[in-house]
């Protein structure tokens, strides 16, 4: 059974890696975007799905990574790959500054503080015009091919999957889940909740930091409003919840299915697709709060670690 699963996973990996060789440019671009959403949904899952601390400002780390990479590429002539990787360092630094005080807040207070963080970062980016281009943003020279970006973004989503798999199967992950389930009891039973939450938060900020850097190189132009939209955070939340919070494959499932759904609906109902997306949010929260994998886990007694 394990061998079969490994074979299937390998075939899927090879199939996805080979997409640029047999599919149209549209499919390649669309798959790159799915990779990005997988990385974002998975990173949100690491802090909010596992510990229950709902972050409404995760796009701040994505935007920080995007601006870090764009500045390094345009002003310091860095190659886009190390510049994107460095985006994870600045995102983690931001997470450390905000996480240390804010992870002591519980429930809605943390969620609201994260929402505030996003607005603060966006305002700062707009304010330091000489550095960030202010409201006009930063424009990068176009790339000859997006193929390297496709594999880089694919690598980030794969890394997100592997990191989540490792965490969910480790004692660290078990303790993060205990925080979600009953933080007071976990702490009284010897779990260093403050420290573990901060570690999880740093890891969950690094992935969007890299994804943001690659995204900046991909779109070649970033500006504050388009890089820090609340809708990006909401989308990653919905994708994670739809697939199954706290699971390994849930965010992948959610990101893939909802991206396909959005693409199909967007193309057919130009002015109606956001209403349908809103309907999905209501549907998931009311009828499937555990997401697809959560429901399958309950009905078919699947292991928690899928």
């Amino acid at each position: 059974m394990k061998q079969l699963a490994a074979m299937l996973a390998l075939s899927l990996l090879v199939g996805v890696a080979a997409i640029p060789f047999y599919a149209t440019n549209y499919v390649v671009t669309f798959t790159l975007q799915i990779f990005m959403w997988i990385a974002l949904a998975q990173s949100w899952n690491l802090i909010s799905g596992l510990t229950g601390y709902v972050s409404f400002g995760h796009v701040a780390f994505f935007g920080t990574g995007a601006y870090t990479a764009a500045i390094l590429i345009s002003k310091a002539a860095w190659h886009w790959l190390p510049a994107s990787l460095f985006g994870s360092v600045t995102a983690a630094f931001l997470a450390l500054i905000i996480g240390y005080p804010c992870l002591r807040l519980r429930g809605p207070y943390f969620a609201i503080s994260m929402l505030g963080l996003n607005e603060v970062v966006r305002a700062l980016v707009s304010y330091f015009e000489s550095f960030t281009g202010g409201g006009s943003g930063i424009t990068l020279s176009p790339m000859y091919t997006i193929l390297p970006l496709y594999y880089a973004m694919g690598g980030v989503s794969l890394a997100a999957l592997l990191i989540t798999y490792w965490i969910v199967n480790s004692r660290f992950g078990l303790r993060l889940l205990a925080i979600r389930e009953n933080e007071v009891a976990a702490e009284a039973m010897g779990v260093n909740t403050a420290g573990l939450k901060l570690y999880a938060f740093l890891i969950s900020a690094m992935l969007p930091g890299i994804a943001g850097g690659i995204y900046a190189r991909y779109v070649t132009h970033i500006e504050p409003l388009g890089t820090f939209p609340l809708l990006t955070t909401i989308t990653m939340i919905v994708m994670c919840l739809f697939g199954g919070r706290g699971t390994v494959f849930g965010p992948i499932l959610g990101a893939t299915l909802l991206s396909i759904f959005q693409e199909m609906v967007w193309a057919r109902f130009l002015f109606f697709h956001e209403a349908l997306f809103g309907a999905i949010i209501v549907f998931v929260i009311l009828l499937m709060p555990r997401g697809i994998l959560g429901v399958l886990q309950q009905h078919y007694r699947l292991p928690r670690t899928i």
Binding site: R171, L174, R175, A188, M189, G190, V191, A194, R304
Partner: protein, 239 residues
């Protein structure tokens, strides 16, 4: 302030806690000798659970000092107090509902994974939950969840165990096993402090009882003395 007396495993001195205008504890003091079973009784709202919360760092004191084995602990985070050797259960059950019964024990283990799993299975057998090891803890009955919480405390092998209403919701057969287990822990040299409303359990187990009323320690003594103390009757039934 005098130094803590080395003969006590736990010393609470002049502990006070207010929630807004409500006084939950008022200058409460008590001391526990090691290797004995103690009970904390009192009417609802007398401050028993608050005292547990202050000892384990879940709540912060307003006044007073807490010493564990001669070391002051009232400024420490709850997990550090636990690492010193104090384990507890909760009045409102504190299991992790979406973790399996086995994972509920493994999550607090500090030894390597394999020996932790072995110990967890032993404890689940002990509380007769081993056949439910893969079941979500939230799906267990109330009494089973109490037993699981008890097993989880044993998993970390603390020197001082605080049990908040361990008998509530546990059926008679399992209760007898639980009482045997508590006596067994005492014979291993553990110190146990129990909050309990079941007077049969309290009188049958305890070597010393502390009675709280309106956040103050009313009286302390052996079970026979407590049973006949008019102040205790008055606290429970009024004048």
């Amino acid at each position: 302030m005098t130094q803590p007396d080395g003969k006590f495993i736990l010393e609470v001195r002049g502990l006070s806690k207010h929630f807004g205008g409500v006084t939950a504890l008022h200058r409460c003091s008590l001391a526990l000798e090691p290797g004995k079973i103690f009970s904390l009784i009192g009417p609802n709202g007398s401050g028993k659970t608050t005292l547990f919360n202050l000892i384990t760092g879940v709540e912060r004191r307003d006044e007073g000092e807490i010493y564990f084995k001669g070391e002051r602990i009232d400024h420490l985070a709850p997990h550090k107090i636990n690492w010193k050797g104090i384990g507890r259960t909760f009045q409102l059950i504190g299991v992790f509902p979406e973790l399996s019964t086995l994972e509920n024990l493994l999550v607090v283990a500090r030894s390597d994974w394999k020996s932790a799993e072995q110990r967890a299975l032993e404890l689940l057998r002990f509380v007769k939950l081993d056949n439910l090891r893969n079941e979500f803890a939230g799906n267990l009955s109330y009494g089973q969840q109490r037993l699981l919480e008890f097993a989880r405390v044993l998993m970390i092998d603390p020197e001082l165990i605080l049990l908040d209403e361990p008998a509530a919701g546990v059926n008679r057969t399992l209760l007898n096993d639980l009482l045997c287990a508590i006596r067994d822990l005492r014979s291993q040299g553990k110190t146990i402090l129990i909050v309990e409303h079941d007077m049969k359990v309290v009188m049958g187990l305890s070597e010393k009882i502390f009675v709280l009323d309106h956040g103050e320690k009313l009286v302390e003594g052996e079970p026979s003395l407590i049973q006949s103390d008019p102040r205790v009757m008055e606290a429970y039934f009024g004048r």
